[in-house]
């Protein structure tokens, strides 16, 4: 596909998305808003997990820190949301850089667990900083006129999350085409070889984690404003991290389109399951994850691309490649 065609299609999709809420019920707008939120989150994880290959299992830490920075700045410093949003992202990017320097020296499972430990630890820190963060009882963002920023309404948050999703996808596109992105892919394939070929691996990895954290923090910040009252249990919920990872892996890690497809697909499926099987939907979701991992270990998009380009179903071949 030519570049022009891609640009035209994506512009048409974005314009269509902006016009979409007028055609939907309030409940449907909320569902699509959640989908857009996860598109941005999945794309953010894709930068560190997909391109760079570092399985960050503590991504939700950036989500929670972004949300809590915004809530604390709005509640205690009377900041406007529109100032708190970028400041939260910048602060979180710095935090990611600081923890990234020691943690990104670890590889494989060790990195995954260390980041998980950071996320769980941050939740406990936020819970125990009661005077500042409200502790386990949560903190409420001021949304009344004269103090804080007025709540944006369903359509307003739809547009905000749409903007964040477009930003996240755009950043992923830019990275995937840049020298920086090729460096990250090289690190993913063989870090020692990448270093030998002249990639400053430490700088590239820390930058990737910081960019990924900044986008995640933007989403967390917007989410905190949308929810009005936030709690540590929700903002640092490990399920949010896992959802991002599942979306990226289902779609195809390290591609731009894959996480997009995975996020849209999985969020609609889990929303459907939630409504159809209110009791057992998590059980079914778990079974879906197991099946997809077993059948499409390289991601749906990669499997589909191989099927089209090589005119055959590569299902059995990927399974053969990964089994014992």
């Amino acid at each position: 596909m030519s570049r022009l065609l891609v640009t035209l299609i994506s512009t048409a999709v974005v314009v269509g998305m902006i016009a979409l809420p007028s055609q939907l019920y309030t409940g449907q707008v909320r569902v699509v808003t959640a989908v857009l939120m996860f598109v941005a989150l999945a794309q953010a994880w894709n930068i560190i997990g997909g391109f760079t290959g570092y399985a960050c299992f503590g991504q939700v830490a950036f989500f929670g820190i972004g949300g809590y920075t915004t809530a604390v700045l709005m509640e205690h410093a009377n900041w406007s949301f529109w100032w708190a949003l970028p400041v939260s992202a910048a602060g979180c990017a710095m935090f990611a850089g600081l923890i990234g320097l020691p943690l990104l020296r670890l590889r494989g499972h060790y990195f995954a667990i260390a980041t998980l430990g950071v996320a769980e630890g941050m939740r406990e820190v936020i819970t125990n900083l009661g005077p500042l963060t409200g502790g386990g009882a949560g903190i409420t963002v001021p949304t009344v006129a004269g103090r804080g920023t007025p709540w944006l309404g369903n359509d307003g948050f739809y547009l905000l999350f749409l903007a964040l999703a477009v930003l996240a996808v755009a950043v992923a596109v830019l990275i995937s085409r840049s020298r920086f992105g090729y460096g990250l892919r090289a690190i993913n394939q063989d870090e020692d070889a990448a270093a030998a070929a002249g990639v400053n691996t430490t700088r590239a990895k820390v930058a990737a984690l910081s960019v990924s954290a900044a986008i995640t923090a933007l989403v967390g910040s917007a989410y905190a404003f949308q929810q009005i009252t936030i709690y540590p249990q929700r903002l640092f919920d490990v399920d949010i991290t896992v959802t991002m990872i599942v979306m990226v892996v289902i779609g195809g890690a390290g591609t731009v389109l894959g996480p997009l497809v995975g996020a849209v697909g999985l969020q609609f499926v889990s929303e459907y399951l939630r409504q159809a099987y209110p009791q057992e939907h998590i059980l079914v979701l778990g079974a879906v994850i197991v099946l997809v991992v077993l059948l499409f270990p390289a991601g749906l998009l990669t499997a589909a691309r191989d099927a089209v380009s090589e005119r055959r179903i590569s299902l059995l071949e990927t399974i053969r490649a990964y089994r014992l």
């Binding site: 997990g49 290959g53 399985a55 299992f57 020691p102 943690l103 020296r105 670890l106 590889r107 494989g108 499972h109 060790y110 995954a112 667990i113 260390a114 998980l116 430990g117 950071v118 769980e120 630890g121 406990e124 820190v125 819970t127 125990n128 009661g130 502790g135 490990v238 896992v242 990872i245 599942v246 892996v249 890690a253 009791q279 057992e280 998590i282 059980l283 979701l285 778990g286 079974a287 879906v288 994850i289 197991v290 991992v293 077993l294 270990p297 399974i319 490649a321 990964y322 089994r323 014992l324």
Partner: protein, 295 residues
């Protein structure tokens, strides 16, 4: 001073039980380079097995531990053989995701079957205690500690002395070479996972003996297993015992002297700190050191 010793004794006894949960987790990690996120769910499955047997026939939790362990051996073997073996060579987040999906299925399945109510296995002796000076030692916790220590020692002996145990360690060191020597790697992997699950299941019965449990506890047991395995050096079975004791005591002290729920933060601070400073674990060498650097 007596509160300090009470906390220390309590931490040691609790740490022994945590070590029994973690030793299998550490073995699976060391031999197969797999992090089993459904490990905590195995603990609870064992606990519910023992609880059901106790409720139905009044079976003592000690026998319940044997039954739960046997049942979980079968589950662990089957899960490894049928599911996890299929993606052993895939990038690590796939095995993490697969076992996370399994954990969701198992935990939600238990929540549907047994509800999310807190359960415990009530016995006549568990809450009785004897004293050493001012320090009280409950029989139930002492028994759980004894079972945990014996099971860990038996596992080490099995791994170092029996032909099967040596085959497991050999497969962990170099799978290709082990297969060339005629070892059936698929069976050995499944056996390793089965042993880990059996220890977790038996430990679950002990968890029910000394306290309460409920399906959402699964994630906490998995996380504590992480911490202990890292503390001890992965795959290092004595290391896991040491890591469990250290974590138990540190948590007990933190619970005694720190306000609020800082005690949970301490466990993760210890984890991240050890990972950064000594990735091979406090006990020194990991079982298979190359894995530490080369992922």
């Amino acid at each position: 001073m007596s509160s300090f010793w009470q906390a220390t004794i309590y931490g040691l006894l609790q740490g022994g039980l945590l070590a029994m949960i973690a030793v299998g987790f550490s073995l699976v990690w060391g031999v197969m380079n797999i992090i089993n996120l459904s490990h905590g769910a195995y603990v609870l499955l064992g606990a519910y097995t023992a609880w059901e047997l106790h409720a139905a026939w009044g079976l003592d939790p000690l026998l319940g531990a044997a039954a739960g362990g046997t049942a979980m051996f079968v589950v662990g073997y089957a899960v490894q053989r049928l599911l996890v073996n299929r993606i052993v060579n895939a990038p690590i987040f796939l095995t993490l995701l697969l076992t996370f999906g399994l954990q969701l299925v198992l935990v939600q399945g238990m929540a549907v079957l047994f509800t999310a109510d807190y359960r415990s296995i009530a016995t006549s002796y568990a809450s009785e205690s004897f004293g050493i000076g001012d320090v009280r030692v409950p029989y139930g916790r002492l028994l759980a500690f004894g079972v945990a220590a014996a099971a860990t020692a038996a596992l080490v002996l099995f791994a170092r002395r029996s032909r099967t145990g040596i085959a497991i360690l050999a497969t962990g060191m170099d799978r290709t070479a082990a297969r060339l020597m005629g070892i059936n790697a698929r069976h050995v992997y499944a056996l390793t996972a089965g042993i880990a699950a059996a220890l977790a299941g038996a430990a679950g019965a002990m968890v029910g003996l000394v306290g309460t449990f409920s399906p959402p506890d699964a994630a906490r047991f998995t996380l504590l297993s992480f911490v202990i395995s890292v503390l001890g050096g992965l795959g290092n079975m004595y290391g896991a015992l040491l890591g469990g004791l250290v974590l138990g005591v540190v948590q007990a002290w933190a619970g005694q002297y720190l306000p609020g729920t800082w005690v949970n933060a301490v466990a993760f601070a210890v984890l991240v700190g050890v990972l950064i400073v000594r990735p091979a674990g406090l006990a020194g060498r990991a079982f298979y050191e190359a894995r530490v650097e080369a992922a």
